[in-house]
C-alpha cells in the first residue's frame, strides 16, 4: 500500500455500518470493497455521482463497458484551492497581451468609421514590449510612425489588464444590451458610469485630438450598431 493509490485505505470491520455487514456477499470484488469503506452519506453521494455520470456523460456505454465505478476525486482544501487557481489562471491568461486573437473579419462594405474604430492592434503590432536584444532581428515588426501614434492614442480605449470590472462590464453591456429588455433603473446606472468613463476618455483625448486629424470625438464615429447605449451627449432626451 504505497504511492498515491487512492483505493488503498485501511479499514476495520467494526467501522462498517451494520446494514452493509448483513448484505455482505461472499466475494470481495473491487466494486464493493471501496463502498464498504465509506460512511453512508458518502456512499449515497457516490451513487449519485455514478448515476449522474451515467446520465450526463453516458459513461460505460462506449467501446468498453465500465464494470467498476471510478474512485472519487480527492476533495478538501488543497484540491479546491488548486482547482480555483486553475480556473483563475485560465481566465487571466486570456486577458494578457500574449493571447493573440485572430483579426476581426472584414465587413461586407468598408465604412468610414472603421478608420477610427480599431478593436485590435494596428498593423499587427505587438501589445507588449519584448526585449528585442534577445530575439532574432527578423522577428521585429516594423511599425509605421503615424500608426505608432495611433497605438498610443488608442491604448487608453482598450482597457488594460488591471482595469476595474466596471469598465469591462460596461463594454459588455453595450454590446449585449440590444438583446435584452431594458430596466429603467439599470439603464440610469449604466448611463452614469458610461458618462464617467467617457469623461476620462475625453480628457485624455483632449490633448491628442489634433493629432487625430479630425475635429470630432471618437463617439462621433459610432456607426449606430450600438444604438441605445451611447446617447450620453443628450441626457435631456427622454428614453423610450
Amino acid at each position: 500500500m504505497l504511492g498515491s493509490a487512492p483505493c488503498s485505505r485501511s479499514f476495520k470491520w467494526a467501522d462498517l455500518p451494520p446494514r452493509l455487514l448483513q448484505d455482505w456477499p461472499g466475494e470481495l470484488t473491487n466494486g464493493e470493497l471501496w463502498e464498504a469503506d465509506l460512511e453512508r452519506q458518502q456512499l449515497e453521494e457516490d451513487q449519485q455521482i455514478s448515476s449522474w455520470l451515467r446520465r450526463v456523460f453516458r459513461v460505460g456505454e462506449g467501446q468498453q463497458p465500465l464494470e467498476f465505478r471510478p474512485v472519487p476525486l480527492p476533495s478538501g482544501e488543497e484540491g479546491e484551492y488548486v482547482l480555483a487557481l486553475k480556473q483563475e489562471l485560465r481566465g487571466a491568461m486570456r486577458q494578457l497581451p500574449y493571447f493573440i486573437r485572430p483579426a476581426v473579419p472584414k465587413r461586407d462594405v468598408e465604412r468610414y468609421s472603421d478608420k477610427y474604430q480599431m478593436s485590435g492592434p494596428i498593423d499587427n503590432a505587438i501589445d507588449w514590449n519584448p526585449d528585442w536584444r534577445r530575439l532574432p532581428r527578423e522577428l521585429k515588426i516594423r511599425v509605421r510612425k503615424l500608426q505608432k501614434e495611433r497605438t498610443t492614442i488608442l491604448l487608453p480605449k482598450r482597457p488594460p489588464k488591471t482595469t476595474e470590472d466596471k469598465e469591462e462590464t460596461i463594454q459588455k453591456l453595450e454590446t449585449l444590451e440590444k438583446k435584452e429588455e431594458e430596466v429603467t433603473s439599470e439603464e440610469d446606472e449604466e448611463k452614469e458610469e458610461e458618462e464617467e468613463k467617457e469623461e476620462e476618455e475625453e480628457e485624455e483625448y483632449d490633448e491628442e485630438e489634433h493629432e487625430e486629424e479630425t475635429d470630432y470625438i471618437m463617439s462621433y464615429f459610432d456607426n449606430g450598431e450600438d444604438f441605445g447605449g451611447d446617447s450620453d451627449d443628450n441626457m435631456d432626451e427622454a428614453i423610450y
Binding site: L85, L135, R137, E138, E180, V183, E186
Partner: protein, 540 residues
C-alpha cells in the same frame, strides 16, 4: 511526438494563447526545426502573424531559435515544455506552501509572463499584494525582494541565458540572432538591487497621495522610460527544481503510507526520509540514481528541532528502512555510524509500479490486480503456474490474463523448444515489462487529458449564451450594489435568470469543476510516469 501529445499541446496552446499561436506552435512541433518564411508558407498565415506568434512562444520558453550557416535562423518547439503548462497550478500552489502568498505571486507572475526582470516582478507582486491588504496598508518592496532571493537561493527560480556583452571591436555586421549563454555559477546569482518602495493600489476611488486628477492616471508606458537597474537580466521559474520537490514529496508520502501506519510515533520514518532528502537537495542533481551517502550522525544532527528520538532509535529506523524490500533507502557503508543513501531510481520505479497496479485494480478488479502483482514478482510465469499461484480458477485466470494482454499491461514471451517454433512445442510466458507498460499508460493519460479538455470546452460552448447572460446580470447587480440600490430592484434583476436556467448553470458549474479536478489528478499520474521513464532512459 505521438499524436496524443500533439493533440494535447494543441489544446493547451489554444486555451492559453489563442488560435494563431496554436497553429504555429503545432506546426513547429510536427515538423521540427524550420525558418521563418517556411513556417509562414506552410501554415498559410501572414508573415506578421507568424512573427507575433513566435515572439510569444519564445517569451514563454516554448520555442528556441538557432542560427545556422548562411545566417538562417531556425525555430524549434519544445513539446515537453508545452505539456508543462498543465502543471502551472501545481507549481504555484507548491510555492504558496513553501513561501506563502508572496512566493505564490512571484512564481505566478514568472509563469504567466515567461520571463521577467527581478525589479519588474517585485513591483508587480507588491502592487498585487497591496490590493488585497486592508486600507492604508501597503506591501514593502524589501519583503518581496527577500522572498525572491530565497526562491533563487533554493533554486526555484533561475536566470535566463544572457545576451553576451558585445565587443566594440567587432567589425562585421551584427548577427541575425544573439547566441544566449549562461554559466552554471551565475544561474542563481541575484543582482544587487536596492529596490525601495511600496506597492500601489489601483483603485481610483482612493485619493492619490499626490492628488492627481483621475484622468491623468499614469499610463503603463511611462514607467518604461526609467532605466531599470537590472536591465537584461531575466528570471524564469525553474521547473526541474519543482519536479524534484514533487518527487521528494511522493517518496516521503510513500514511506509514510508504508511504514508509519504501524508505529505509535507519528511519521517518524517519513520524517527521517524527508530530512535525508532535504540534505541532498542541492548536492545531488535531479537525475542522479541515488543521493550522496549520508552518515547516521549527520542525519541525527539535521533532524528537525522538535524530534526527540535518541540515536539508537534513529539507527533502528534506518536499519528498518534499509531492510525493507522496497529498497527506498540503502546502506552503502559503515563509517560515521552507517552511511545511507536514498535510491531515487528504485523509488520512482516503485511509485510507477504502484500506479500501474492501482490502475489495473480500478479497471479490472482486485483479482486481476492479484495476478498482475504475481507476474511482476515472479518475472515470468506460464499459464498453468499463474492459475496455481494465484488460486484462481483456470477459466477466470485465462480471461483476465487475456484482458490485460489486450491492453498491453502484460506481454507474452515465447521460448521455443524446437527450431521450427511450433506452437505446441513452445513455452509462452507471461511477463510484465514496466517500462513499456508505463509508456503505454502515459500515452493513455495524454489522451485522457485531451478528452477532458475537449469535453470541458464543449460544455462551455453549449451554454455560452446562458453564461454570458449570467455574467451580465452579475455585473449589473455588482454595479447596482456599489452605487447603492434597493433590495426590490436587486431582486428584480436576479429574477432575470429563471429557475431552470439557474439549475442549468449549477449543473454546468459542477461539470466543469469535476472535469478540471480530473485534469489535475491525471497530471499527477503523468508526472510520476514521466519521471520514472526519464530516470530509466537516462540510466541506459
Amino acid at each position: 511526438m505521438t499524436q496524443a501529445e500533439i493533440k494535447l499541446c494543441s489544446l493547451l496552446l489554444q486555451e492559453h494563447f489563442g488560435e494563431i499561436v496554436e497553429k504555429i506552435g503545432v506546426h513547429l512541433i510536427r515538423t521540427g526545426s524550420q525558418p521563418l518564411r517556411v513556417i509562414a508558407h506552410d501554415t498559410g498565415t501572414s508573415l506578421d502573424q507568424v512573427k507575433k506568434a513566435l515572439c510569444v512562444l519564445i517569451q514563454h520558453n516554448l520555442v528556441i531559435y538557432q542560427v545556422h550557416k548562411r545566417g538562417v535562423v531556425e525555430y524549434e518547439a519544445q513539446c515537453s515544455r508545452v505539456l508543462r503548462m498543465l502543471r502551472y497550478p501545481r507549481y504555484i500552489y507548491t510555492a504558496k506552501t513553501l513561501y506563502s502568498d508572496t512566493g505564490e505571486l512571484i512564481v505566478e507572475e514568472l509563469l504567466l509572463n515567461g520571463k521577467m526582470a527581478m525589479s519588474a516582478v517585485v513591483k508587480k507582486v507588491a502592487d498585487r499584494l497591496t490590493e488585497t491588504m486592508e486600507d492604508g496598508k501597503t506591501m514593502d518592496y524589501a519583503e518581496v525582494s527577500n522572498t525572491f532571493v530565497r526562491l533563487a537561493d533554493t533554486h526555484f527560480v533561475q536566470r535566463c541565458p544572457l545576451v553576451p556583452a558585445t565587443e566594440n571591436s567587432d567589425p562585421g555586421p551584427p548577427p541575425p540572432a544573439p547566441t544566449l549563454v549562461i554559466s552554471e555559477k551565475d544561474m542563481y546569482l541575484v543582482p544587487k538591487l536596492s529596490l525601495i518602495g511600496k506597492g500601489k493600489r489601483r483603485r481610483s476611488s482612493d485619493e492619490d497621495a499626490t492628488g492627481e486628477p483621475k484622468a491623468k492616471r499614469p499610463k503603463h508606458t511611462t514607467d518604461n522610460k526609467e532605466p531599470i537597474p537590472d536591465d537584461g537580466i531575466y528570471w524564469q521559474a525553474n521547473l526541474d527544481r519543482f519536479h524534484q520537490h514533487f518527487r521528494d514529496q511522493g517518496i516521503v508520502s510513500a514511506v509514510a503510507n508504508r511504514m508509519d501506519q504501524f508505529t505509535f510515533q507519528t511519521q517518524t520514518s517519513s520524517e527521517i526520509v524527508r530530512t535525508m532528502l532535504r540534505m541532498s537537495e542541492i548536492t545531488t542533481s535531479s537525475s542522479a540514481p541515488f543521493t550522496q551517502p549520508l552518515s547516521s550522525n549527520e542525519i541525527f544532527r539535521s533532524l528537525p528541532v522538535g524530534y526527540n528520538i535518541s540515536k539508537q532509535v534513529l539507527d533502528q529506523y534506518l536499519t528498518l528502512l534499509a531492510d525493507d524490500p522496497l529498497e527506498f533507502v540503502g546502506k552503502s557503508g559503515d563509517s560515521g555510524g552507517g552511511m545511507y543513501v536514498i535510491n531515487l531510481h528504485k523509488a520512482l520505479g516503485s511509485l510507477a509500479t504502484a500506479t500501474l497496479e492501482s490502475v489495473i485494480q480500478e479497471r479490472f478488479g482486485s483479482r486481476c490486480a492479484r495476478i498482475f502483482r504475481l507476474v511482476l514478482q515472479k518475472k515470468h510465469l506460464e499459464q498453468k503456474q499463474v492459475e496455481d499461484f494465484a488460486m484462481i480458477p483456470a477459466k477466470e485466470a485465462k480471461d483476465m490474463l487475456y484482458k490485460m494482454l489486450s491492453e498491453n499491461f502484460i506481454s507474452l514471451q515465447e521460448i521455443p523448444k524446437t527450431p521450427d517454433h511450433a506452437p505446441s512445442r513452445t513455452f509462452y510466458l507471461y511477463t510484465v515489462n514496466i517500462l513499456s507498460a508505463a509508456r503505454m499508460l502515459l500515452h493513455r493519460c495524454y489522451k485522457s487529458v485531451a478528452n477532458l479538455i475537449e469535453r470541458r470546452q464543449f460544455e462551455t460552448k453549449e451554454n455560452k449564451r446562458l453564461l454570458e447572460k449570467s455574467q451580465r446580470v452579475e455585473a449589473i447587480i455588482a454595479s447596482m450594489q456599489a452605487t447603492g440600490a434597493e433590495e426590490a430592484q436587486l431582486q428584480e434583476i436576479e429574477e432575470m435568470i429563471t429557475a431552470p436556467e439557474r439549475q442549468q448553470l449549477e449543473t454546468l458549474k459542477r461539470n466543469v469543476n469535476k472535469l478540471d479536478a480530473c485534469e489535475i489528478q491525471v497530471d499527477e499520474t503523468i508526472f510520476l510516469l514521466e519521471s520514472y521513464i526519464e530516470s530509466t532512459v537516462k540510466r541506459q
